[in-house]
């Protein structure tokens, strides 16, 4: 059994009705890491939106939280993947994000994903998993998510057919009703998760085990955006109720459990 902890949308710089939420969210973020370490997870995914880069001096504290968690996980030999969201990008043409400082820890155990990427993850000697990552599209680093997915499947079709695949993004998902992440905390522009292309490629390539994950949305849920019975997009949701539009949300994170074997 391989176990992957998935969390997203920390927004460590959040302020609600004048109350700074940093301590609460930092504590919750550490809880996810503790859970990963205690459960001896095989990987840890952060799906974007650490904090806004222009949120002031608290950005340093927010980045420090992420750095320390990445370091904790690395010491426990848990690979962590840090995916940039729409709130993370610094739109100055550099392509940098609030996650960029974590690059200083880059190793087999820490990976910052600021551009679309594909990873072949190896667990032990006989078990692999493929990871297709679709971060938010910064204006300075535009890409076509659907084309990237298509190319990734074409280039690695044999490998994709043999192992489970996780497609993880921080994009808009057609079919999910926007919540406070859009109404109260807008940033950036609409870039759509290539749901139909992903499903088509999975079906065509004979992939038997696949999971679609996406950050950005603060309300956790499994969204069957293709209709009842369709492949769901799993959203971990944020770790705190950040705005009054989120009063009834349940802050949470996900754990994927993937049985060994094919």
């Amino acid at each position: 059994m391989k176990r992957i902890v998935v969390t997203s949308d920390w927004h460590l710089d959040a302020v609600t009705a004048g109350v700074r939420r940093f301590e609460e969210i930092a504590s919750a973020a550490n809880t996810t890491a503790t859970k990963a370490i205690e459960s001896r997870a095989d990987a840890y995914f952060f799906l974007g939106d650490l904090c806004d880069p222009d949120a002031g001096s608290c950005v340093f504290r927010c980045v420090e939280v992420a750095l320390k968690i990445a370091e904790r996980l690395a010491k426990a030999k848990i690979p962590s993947y840090w995916l940039a969201g729409n709130h993370d990008v610094i739109e100055d043409g550099s392509g940098d994000t609030t996650l960029s400082p974590i690059r200083s820890l880059s190793s087999d155990y820490v990976t910052v994903v600021e551009q679309p990427s594909t990873f072949g993850m190896v667990f032990g000697v006989d078990f692999g998993m493929n990871l297709v990552v679709l971060p938010y599209v910064a204006t300075s680093r535009r890409y076509d998510p659907a084309a990237f997915v298509r190319d990734s499947f074409e280039k690695r079709r044999d490998d994709f057919a043999r192992h489970p695949i996780v497609v993880a993004g921080h994009l808009n998902v057609e079919g999910i009703v926007p919540g406070s992440e859009t109404e109260d905390m807008p940033r950036g522009r609409d870039v759509w998760f290539p749901y139909e292309e992903v499903c088509r490629q999975i079906d065509d390539s004979g992939v038997k085990r696949a999971v679609l994950l996406n950050g950005h949305y603060h309300k956790a849920g499994a969204y069957a955006v293709g209709g009842k019975g369709s492949r769901a997009v799993h959203v971990p949701g944020s770790l705190a109720r950040l705005t009054f539009g989120e009063e009834d949300y349940t802050p949470s994170f996900l754990t994927l459990e993937i049985p060994d074997g094919k």
């Binding site: 609460e24 609409d190 949470s252 994927l256 459990e257 993937i258």
Partner: protein
């Protein structure tokens, strides 16, 4: 980032081709609650019925009706703080339209804003991908003409 407003079903965290996806809720004791109170009467009820326990430890938004006297709002906010609310923010009632008195006692409803600044900028950026500069300027001027900023 706006999203298309098609409602999707939210399903269980059921197995996906024998991959199990579990959702772990954070301990409610560690998560700050948010509470919206929509009238002064609701504050009275809340304090009377639960001794304010509902507001305890929460960040509270108290919606102010346009005729609520300021001193009553202050008293209500104080009562909520006394009941253990973490913070209380008084906010005006959101209004979808505003009725303005005109000379002579006649009333009119202002035309709603047609286009937000964000929509304009987003549209211009999208147009910039495909149009030449002259066409872009013409288009920007056209939508600015329609906008009420």
């Amino acid at each position: 980032m706006a999203s298309k407003r098609t409602k999707a079903a939210t399903g269980d965290r059921s197995p996906v081709e024998n991959i199990v996806i579990r959702s772990t809720r954070l301990d409610e004791a560690e998560v700050t609650g948010l509470l919206t109170i929509r009238s002064l009467a609701e504050v009275d009820d809340l304090v009377a019925e639960t001794n304010g326990a509902t507001a305890h430890g929460k960040i509270v938004r108290l919606i102010q009706a346009h005729d609520d006297p300021r001193e009553k709002l202050d008293d209500a906010a104080e009562a909520l703080r006394g009941a253990g609310a973490l913070a209380v923010r008084v906010v005006p009632t959101p209004r979808s339209k505003v009725v303005v008195d005109k000379p002579g006692g006649e009333e009119r409803t202002p035309a709603p804003r047609q286009t937000s600044a964000r929509e304009i900028v987003r549209t211009i950026i999208e147009e910039a991908k495909t149009q030449d500069r002259a066409a872009l300027v013409a288009h920007a001027e056209e939508i600015m003409g329609r906008a009420s900023l």
